[in-house]
């Protein structure tokens, strides 16, 4: 469907790591521009860009800077967060099915954000909304690691995710029912499927510092994740502190995914599909997979969000619908391959 599939069949050696990163950066930029070019009002992009840069507040410049640019930026940030977090979870849990959606981390983050938003807490402290998402994500990752860490099998991992997702989803529904605004009840669709519609630049500034902190923590776990290929004992013998690794991973995942879900809802499958596709291209090295999965996640999310507006379906499809339609077949494929190796 996308150029990435053709690249995968040619193998990693043809590109090298630097080449892969360059290619992904180009893809992200291309989909970013596509996201800017697609929308609900006819927009001459070059003219709007010139107007915006020269400070003229024409309507076209306004649409570009206040509506399209924030949406595209947020798409890239949310996608990067989901991609890198998926790769990190898979590296730590040594399981290709681990990702924020399946394991319930996104669902719990949505719960945290819902509690903050609908009960009027979003204005109380700076960053309250993403902090709510982060708090939810932290609880879920602790639970998950407690239940399915230490080399527990795939079944335990999936069951833990099902349990966390069910519980978080039920509590989210309850919170929405109890909220003082009557519109809230119908909005569970946003939180469960995700959307980037009607975002503003203030949302971008709200999550950017927290996401950057999360990404940094995750990237720093790269060498430790590589060493975990050989198991926990060997990793320890190579000088890595596993307790500290787990904390960095929990914190990094919570910061990235928590912020992303707080502003865009729980967009599913990005953290599953992207690492799965890119793993062969980095020769299965968990450390290298982190950054490229971030880039791949950004590209995929931007592409999906562009598609959502390009399709003539109104009202606009939720972003999670498109990522689920793309991602579910990958999940089927993964399960099938796990079956034949089990």
């Amino acid at each position: 469907m996308t150029p990435r599939r053709a690249v995968g069949t040619r193998g990693a050696s043809a590109f090298g790591y630097a080449g892969l990163i360059a290619l992904l950066v180009v893809l992200v930029i291309a989909f970013f521009v596509a996201s800017l070019a697609v929308g609900y009002a006819p927009l001459a992009l070059p003219q709007a860009f010139r107007d915006a840069v020269s400070g003229q507040g024409t309507l076209a410049a306004l649409v570009l800077t206040e509506l399209r640019v924030p949406r595209a930026l947020l798409g890239a940030l949310v996608g990067f967060s989901l991609g890198i977090a998926g790769a990190a979870m898979q590296g730590l849990l040594r399981n290709p099915l681990a990702e924020p959606g399946i394991t319930g981390v996104s669902g719990a983050a949505a719960l945290g954000a819902v509690i903050v938003f609908y009960f009027g807490l979003a204005g109380t402290v700076p960053f309250a909304l993403p902090l709510g998402g982060i708090a939810g994500a932290i609880v879920a990752t602790f639970l998950l690691y407690g239940l399915a860490g230490h080399g527990a099998g795939t079944m335990t991992l999936i069951l833990a995710g099902v349990a966390i997702n069910s519980f978080a989803g039920a509590l989210t529904s309850l919170a929405l029912n109890l909220s003082p605004n009557p519109f809230a009840v119908a909005e569970i669709v946003f939180w469960l499927l995700g959307s980037l519609a009607d975002r503003s630049l203030s949302t971008v500034w709200l999550v950017l510092p927290l996401m950057l902190a999360g990404w940094t923590l995750l990237i720093l776990t790269g060498p430790a994740l590589d060493s975990l290929t050989l198991g926990e004992d060997t990793a320890k013998s190579l000088g890595f502190n596993l307790g500290r690794l787990r904390l960095m991973l929990i914190a990094g995942t919570a910061l990235s995914v928590g912020s992303a879900v707080a502003v865009a809802g729980a967009v599913a499958f990005v953290g599953l599909v992207v690492p799965h596709l890119l793993r062969p291209l980095v020769a299965h090295r968990p450390g290298r997979l982190l950054f490229v999965s971030g880039l791949g996640g950004a590209a995929l999310t931007l592409a999906a969000d562009t598609l959502v507006r390009w399709l003539p379906i109104r009202p606009e499809l939720k972003l999670g619908v498109v990522t689920a339609i793309i991602g579910a077949p990958f999940l089927f494929n993964l399960i099938y391959r796990l079956r034949s190796t089990a």
Partner: protein, 290 residues
């Protein structure tokens, strides 16, 4: 006079709801019902303007909300219901008034009892409002009061002269990006206030959805934002607070319209027309001085 004929026709439409109901169960209301129940916020409003509170057994709980209700003070002193049949039947009402869009299961249940039940739809024009007021006034035996209310409303509407010159381009922004187009009460209110409803130009009939991009790029002069943006937070109302609206405020007049003035077909729509007329005039003055 044509108006009388039209209002009679509207009243007849309303009563058809009565006639079509299962004849075996339905009974006609008494001339002056003494235990009236209303199941709909809009019918609450009209009822409380027409009938003596002593004859009203219950109105909906929504009518007590200060922000959303025109009749909150009166409703505060009356028993309230939540639209459930089990709340209503024990009150032994001799007339139940419901909206065509409210609590379908309760209405269905009540229709199977012997309680007289009348449904009112949403008026699509000010003429229909007059018809509804007359119909309800006749139901509760207060026809004179009904004519008084209509007279007051018409006085206020006539006090505004028809506007001259170009009509400012306006659009309504409601929660979730909903807007109001042709053939609706809101459309007529805007027209009477001297505004040009851009949603109608965009081809929207009745209700439709707008995106912020459409609003920004359609060079409007007046943006009527639902007062829902001051309520507790929800994603539906976030669009009403988007920063781009603030950025538009140097060239667009942003008007906050209290939903209670035009959500229902009540005499309060006159106040809505007055409010918009003031805003339209202010906009034209501002444009003239540039």
């Amino acid at each position: 006079m044509p108006i009388d004929q039209q209002s009679t026709a509207k009243w007849a439409t309303v009563v058809i709801a009565l006639a079509v109901a299962p004849a075996a169960a339905q009974t006609l209301p008494a001339d002056k019902p003494a235990r009236i129940v209303s199941l709909n916020m809009c019918t609450d409003d009209l009822l409380l303007r027409l009938a003596d509170p002593a004859r009203i057994a219950s109105v909906t709980w929504l009518s007590r909300a200060q922000r959303g209700s025109n009749v909150a003070d009166i409703a505060a002193r009356l028993p309230v219901n939540h639209g459930l049949a089990e709340e209503i039947i024990p009150l032994d009402p001799d007339l139940v008034i419901a909206g065509t869009f409210s609590t379908r299961t309760a209405v269905g249940l009540l229709k199977r009892t012997r309680i007289p039940l009348v449904e009112f739809g949403i008026p699509r024009s000010i003429e229909e409002i007059r018809g509804h007021i007359r119909a309800m006034a006749r139901l509760v035996g207060e026809s004179e009061q009904g004519e008084r209310i209509i007279g007051q409303m018409d006085e206020r509407l006539a006090a505004m002269p028809s506007g001259t010159g170009a009509r400012p381009r306006a659009i309504v922004l409601n929660p979730n990006g909903a807007t109001v187009g042709r053939g609706t009460l809101v459309d007529e209110i805007m027209t009477r206030a001297g505004l040009d409803n851009v949603a109608a130009t965009l081809g929207i009939d009745s209700y439709g959805l707008l995106t912020l991009e459409t609003i920004v790029s359609n060079a409007i002069d007046v943006l009527i934002v639902s007062s829902a943006r001051d309520e507790p937070p929800a994603l539906a109302t976030e669009i009403l607070k988007h920063p781009v609206i603030e950025r538009l405020s140097d060239r667009v007049r942003i008007v906050s319209m209290p939903a209670r003035l035009w959500n229902c077909g009540t005499p309060a729509v006159a106040e809505a027309v007055e409010l918009l007329r003031r805003e339209a005039d202010a906009f034209k003055r501002g444009r003239a001085t540039q």
